[in-house]
Symmetry: C3
Subunit: 656 residues, 3 copies
């Protein structure tokens, strides 16, 4: 359990470094990440490397007991490289070249980009492999899918397709290019999804393959760096700073090459103000990438923003977010950044210190958290979250819904969040795992609309249910095969038997609502989508009461083997999920956290039978939370009787 | 009276064709349209034609008694053609080439595009001229004006201008290029309306000529196909599927080459949800193109949408829309499409069947309609709507208002709809005809803002009124001449004498409102535009009561010869038009349908003195409609006394 | 004191000219501006000049006693020039060339553009230098900063940078290009702020230098014309028609070369409807450019708009706006334009006459104003506004806030207007002057957020206060240096001692609000921005009462020498400013106009001790205004007792 900070010695006069290092140590900081945007200083002109400044910075920090994570600096190639190889610049969907001046101005498929990236990575790895101040590596920075539209990408995409489909005949058949007379008679005829007469409405199969190709381009770019680092610096770890719910690259694939994953958490960043449960989901998503604990490589340390700023984090929020990260499986929280930059695009992405370098309120808050964490480190070290519910996650499904959103509210994270939020309100911890995960350890598995359903996955889920699991299947599951073309069986396709239903009709509700009733008379409100279900063995749990399909089944439950499969033919508001999931949890023999008030999260870490409970008040009002009498108080307000009063943004920790 | 379906045999395994054909026959389908997007299958590589699959498909269908309409497949040129002639791709207003991947990716002025289009058309025509399964042809698909900005278009536009104006001096004079120093001293200096420093605010005369040129480019492209079809397949009819209120090509000109016109009707398509009167207007507009009955070539048969879907048609709506089409002059209703496509951009543009190919609710609804239609076909065959009110329609006016919208609410269809909706609410059938139509058969003619007014048209309208007609002239009439430059006479220009008024001032109201009162004290609310009128012989019907021109005349009536000319110097809400048009109808001796409730349309077809009344409940609530006692009930709920209760989306038909 | 009109003889048949000239004279018009868009008629083909038509037009006008201002016609280069030198066309941020068809289609850095501009200017100057009908010159038309992205601009920008910084090392250091690895190792690597991967989020220092460069490009373009005019037509004045609150070119710099400045005033133009105080501010801004009286070169004379029109000016508004201009320092009001153009983009930018050329309502209103003005001309000639309050204005600050808006409501004119409007409501006249102005004549100086604060300016302000002045400093002052990089001192940087405060934290409120209380218990509402202030000698005037910084200081006052410095750490609504500024005015011994009702402006002109009071009712309701008993009534309604009742849009003038 450590805290760290992202530090840019190259932004400051060398005389300031010892001052900073001392202030860091005094705040309890033991890790820094450096160098990920410093290529032009490490290699000021082609082939002339200068690592001396970084050597000195590492030494200054190490002297204060601080270890370093080095970023390979490939997210911002230097100007001299672009001048020599202008085709490194990526192109947009109208073929305009996005040039120099910000960052990420590189196509990861460009061979010159790759060659120079390998060179700087290898040179750095050799130089720092034995440096005791260096703990490990971060590849590049915040990788995205290589959504570039340059001719190099076009050529490589065609190669990739030839590899995948073997022949044009097979590709034409797979994509259904007969639609709108698009059959290709030569590989060179295949376009990228450039802007066309009808916007961007290319063939959906082409679009999905392009998204896969763009993701794989990034994964293979990282793979080259990982191979070099493993070969040259075998004793140092390798991680990458992901972006939570970002989705342009398949994080499961990107994570495979890493020792552990990290992510960058901006809970009140300027584009996501007021969504306290977004980071909650993101922590679980990131923990699910490798199914183990992770680092927060960048944690919000103040106001964020480029040209326009977010609101200031309220006092206590930074501490709260830090404990939230720990509670959900972080083993290190590293703040971005040490001191607010004086120049460049991110002048107002505030660090722990303001531009004036004076320790003020946020420094004191983080120092306080650091002391709290240190006091519990021995207690918590080696623990991690363990849950009996899993939501299945897939980047390919995510892309398919982006390509065809179908109805408002069906986007992948919209679907996942409705379930995850409801489980959070019930105080039930949730893993977010890939289809390939071992499901046998879960009592409940939730399948958001698994749009592209392979037969083998349907079979796997069937086996899970038969063995006693409870499965929730959502509308829009099984609509398509993995080619992004529609299936010809009645919906929900290969999972219809397991669910025991047939979809006879459907209505894309979007924002419209439709009343639904349960057998006990409970009235709920459905929206987003409505399947009209014909039970084929399943029992009807909820029916439409007026609106789109009066009297027809909306939610069903089908027993199979030792388990059961629920089919949610529609979606709804919080009350809809709270009501239905309480029945599903009961069916799964999972106990919710009774009496948990709104905006309070209950999270658990476990180690060898010991369990720690974290109560996190994400809201701006005081909350009273029931606590088990035998719980041992470790941090935060003490319980009065069986209730603890958590102040706004308050945290309490118990061992139970 | 027939029903049909749009069918894509090339999208399905050949073994399915007989199944589909049988299901079609059982639903009463006797027509299909095919092949309009199949160029790549008809000519897989240059010059290698393969019609065998289409021959077989036609035979399978014909065996079930189904006749075919063949589309010339030029809306989606194949990839091999574009690869050889990349200049076929059209350019946008920033000269970006819109390439391969959707449809309409062709410039109709490109000579290679034209040559290959003639070739495929001629080859098909020769092959199918004597095939008894082929009833006729559809040219291309949903033609639009060739709003392309490529250099070929620029060159042809300059030729077109040289042809029109003779000399640069004449063009400079006509357009007023002296404004902003734009006089051309060489033809090659004339631009297309490419994006410029001030957005797209080119000289309005240039813009209008470009719109005319773009429309004529499309008309002449079709003309080449029509000539080939007439020469090679003289016994088969030729039509084209227009798009209702679409306006980028002059449908009057496009229609001249056709035997009859067709159109594609999506009343609840995803971009026009909840506008039940839009199809009502569109049917009348389309019938007015050639002044006779028409086909619906594509009628909505389910949920529509590409990436995002519309709501599902409510049960009963497809039947209602089908009867609405018949009531307003359709002789065939053909559904788009048979079965929802498994692949490509239009996967969610639903056919009668879902992707699974199982006949479900919509199949049954359409089959039911087909049986109803069959039962009345002998009764209705040969009948058509006949009306005593005409609204004048013009694509050139439409373009001029697009180029200069002037005030919110003045766009052409906005203006037309306000009158058309009010006449619909009064149960008065309306034709929508060109200025060149024979007006003598109408008792009332309505002129929306006829912005570009030619003297000869003003004279024609004068003669109409003098002979006893009633004419309604709207604000913004006579502002300009046909060059899209302003007239120098006081407004309303050449029609001022006929209207007996002079416009002394005006105020572009847009959404703002202004109270208006009639002589009898009725208070109304004006908006959109306000002319301050000085009567020069006309009587004042309505005056502004406060607001922009307190006490000044807003609506006038001027008797001339045996008729009268009303001038509407302002526009307003439904109550405004209902109140004023009731007086205009009285002046025209036209009887409204008294007691017609909101959202119920009353339409008539006539043949040799016999009249059929169609009552269509476009609303979602039951409605009580008065019916003449002597009316003979043919379909739908029977009247109780002199009233019939129409359920939501219900239809009733009577002979009167 | 004169009135004039903008006239385009080239748009009308020569036979109409005498009719127009006579109507002008009858309306009291004594000036016209001509020729600024007539290059293609003055030089129809390269080198072939034809001034004969303009000579005749000047003569016709001069015969009626009308003098002319000639525009150099360089805002609309002719088509032949572009055809020969297509690189004159400017490029947008994606390098698309903005071509022919509207206006301003020229890059002012292009050498061919400059050469031909010099030539036409020199030829005109020589031809008209001695023409008695010509009073002076207008350079070009409505200059904007040359925000062009062409390669010529890129090359010249690099030269400009080399001149400014001397070396790449210095530039890299100044801009902080080490951020995101952007250090340049060659001048040719420096981009313009073209669109890049992250939108337009280039380095803020690069962006600011580009804005400076773009402004200087325009200033130097004008300078070439001014030099030629001075050399060849030394007896004629030179002015330019600025655009009020436009800000892409530094008007202080542009104004330096001119004899006096002019501006174009469209108070109810289509993009600014309903902002009566906007012109009020703009008049003061323009008068501040050279610190002396000015001309209105274009005054709204009717409905404006290109494709869409504004509402009509209400009767009385044109007269009101004309008197408003005079009251705030205009010596001539010239209406745009004489007669509405029949063709071209500005057909609906209405002149005094409509398209029909018949004098109607607006002609009569302007004629009436002209007679009123003539009756008071002897009285008012030579007078001008003199004020004891100054708001400091800066184009460089303005650009910096555009580059980084930071929080909603911080844009430069937003900040200036909040103060200016409040002073206007208090009836206190205000100058708007540059930092270089002589401040000693002001009792109160207001500094909006002076984001980029130079030490020498901080010192100047300190000296002003010490000498007895009252200074108001706003939040975000002193954040940066002139390089647009952040300062390292605690905020407010170099002015902290003068203000006697330190900013310990801040919160970008934007639209959010925060309660504030004054010592006397007054409750106010803050928004936009909140600084948490630690007084270092200053007294606390207002504190936050809950919200972001409960109990901390929000507004302070610090006495220094004979004066005082107020620091406004937050902004707010009208009540906020009215309440606080009343205290500041008292501190400055400035008497407000007590009892001035909302929407009524009180303005003063002064000459040799005599003072004229203008009361302007900018609102649409009658208002009662207290008037000093001794005031001598000159125009408008007479006072009853000590109160005058001003009708809507009414004007009253008194000598006091």
């Amino acid at each position: 359990m450590n805290i760290g900070v992202d530090y840019y010695p190259e932004h400051w006069d060398e005389s300031r470094w010892p001052v900073d290092a001392k202030l860091m140590r005094e705040a309890g900081i033991t890790f820094v990440r450096l160098a990920e945007f410093s290529w032009c200083k490490l290699e000021p002109t082609e082939g002339n490397y200068d690592f001396s400044w970084l050597d000195r910075a590492l030494a200054v920090l190490h002297k204060e007991g601080i270890k370093s994570v080095l970023g390979t600096p490939t997210a911002t190639p230097p100007a001299w490289l672009h001048e020599r190889y202008p085709e490194i610049y990526p192109a947009d969907a109208k073929k305009y070249r996005l040039g120099f001046g910000t960052r990420l101005q590189r196509c990861l498929n460009n061979e010159d980009m790759r060659r120079y990236s390998r060179l700087i990575t290898e040179t750095m790895a050799k130089h720092y492999a034995k440096n005791p101040a260096v703990a490990g590596w971060q590849t590049d920075n915040e990788f995205e899918g290589n959504l570039c539209y340059c001719e190099t990408c076009a050529a490589k995409f065609r190669e990739w397709l030839r590899e995948k489909y073997g022949s044009l005949e097979a590709l034409n058949e797979a994509w259904g290019t007969i639609f709108w007379s698009q059959e290709y008679s030569g590989w060179s005829q295949i376009p990228l999804p450039w802007e066309v007469k009808c916007g961007k409405s290319h063939n959906p199969s082409l679009q999905l393959d392009y998204r896969r190709f763009a993701s794989e381009s990034t994964v293979s770019f990282q793979h080259e760096q990982v191979e070099i680092l493993r070969a040259n610096a075998p004793e140092q770890f390798i991680t990458h700073n992901m972006m939570g719910l970002h989705d342009s690259v398949d994080y499961f694939e990107l994570g495979k090459d890493l020792d552990f994953v990290s992510w960058d958490n901006y809970p009140a960043g300027f584009w996501i103000q007021g969504e306290p449960t977004r980071s909650d989901l993101a922590h679980d998503v990131i923990r699910g990438i490798k199914g183990r604990n992770f680092w927060v490589m960048e944690e919000q340390s103040g106001i964020t923003g480029w040209e326009t700023m977010s609101r200031r984090p309220v006092p206590g929020q930074i501490r709260l977010w830090s404990w939230q990260a720990i509670a959900q499986g972080a083993d290190l929280v590293q703040y971005f950044r040490w001191r607010s930059c004086l120049f460049g695009t991110e002048q107002y992405w505030h660090g722990i210190l303001n531009h004036d370098g004076v320790p003020r309120r946020r420094y004191r808050e983080i120092k306080g958290f650091s002391e709290e964490l240190a006091s519990l480190s021995a207690e918590l070290d080696g623990s991690s979250p363990e849950n009996s519910v899993a939501i299945l996650n897939s980047y390919e499904q995510n892309w398919a819904f982006q390509i065809q959103p179908q109805a408002k509210g069906l986007l992948w994270w919209d679907q996942v969040r409705r379930y995850h939020d409801a489980l959070g309100r019930a105080g039930v911890g949730t893993d977010v795992v890939p289809m390939g995960a071992d499901l046998s350890k879960y009592r409940l598995v939730i399948l958001p609309g698994w749009y592209l359903l392979r037969e083998r996955d349907a079979e796997k889920l069937g086996a899970y249910v038969k063995a006693g699991g409870v499965l929730v299947v959502s509308a829009r599951t099984g609509v398509k095969n993995e080619l992004n073309t529609c299936r010809t069986e009645p919906l929900p396709g290969p999972i219809a038997d397991l669910a025991g239903v047939e979809v006879d009709d459907y209505d894309p509700l979007g924002d419209a609502t439709c009343p639904v009733t349960l057998a006990d008379g409970t009235s709920l409100s459905a929206s987003v989508w409505a399947d009209a279900l014909v039970p084929k063995g399943a029992e009807t749990v909820a029916s439409y009461a007026g609106g789109c399909f009066p009297g027809e089944a909306a939610v069903t439950r089908n027993e199979t083997g030792k388990g059961s499969c629920w089919y949610f033919g529609t979606a709804g508001d919080a009350a809809f999920y709270d009501s239905l999931l309480s029945r599903v949890l009961e069916d799964s023999s999972i106990e919710p956290y009774r009496g948990l008030p709104p905006n309070v999260a209950a999270k658990y870490r476990v180690r060898n039978g010991a369990t720690w409970l974290f109560l996190l008040n994400l809201g701006s009002a005081e909350a009273s939370v029931p606590v088990h009498k035998g719980a041992k108080h470790l941090l935060g307000p003490e319980a009065e009787g069986d209730t603890v009063r958590l102040p706004a943004y308050g945290v309490a920790i118990y061992r139970i």
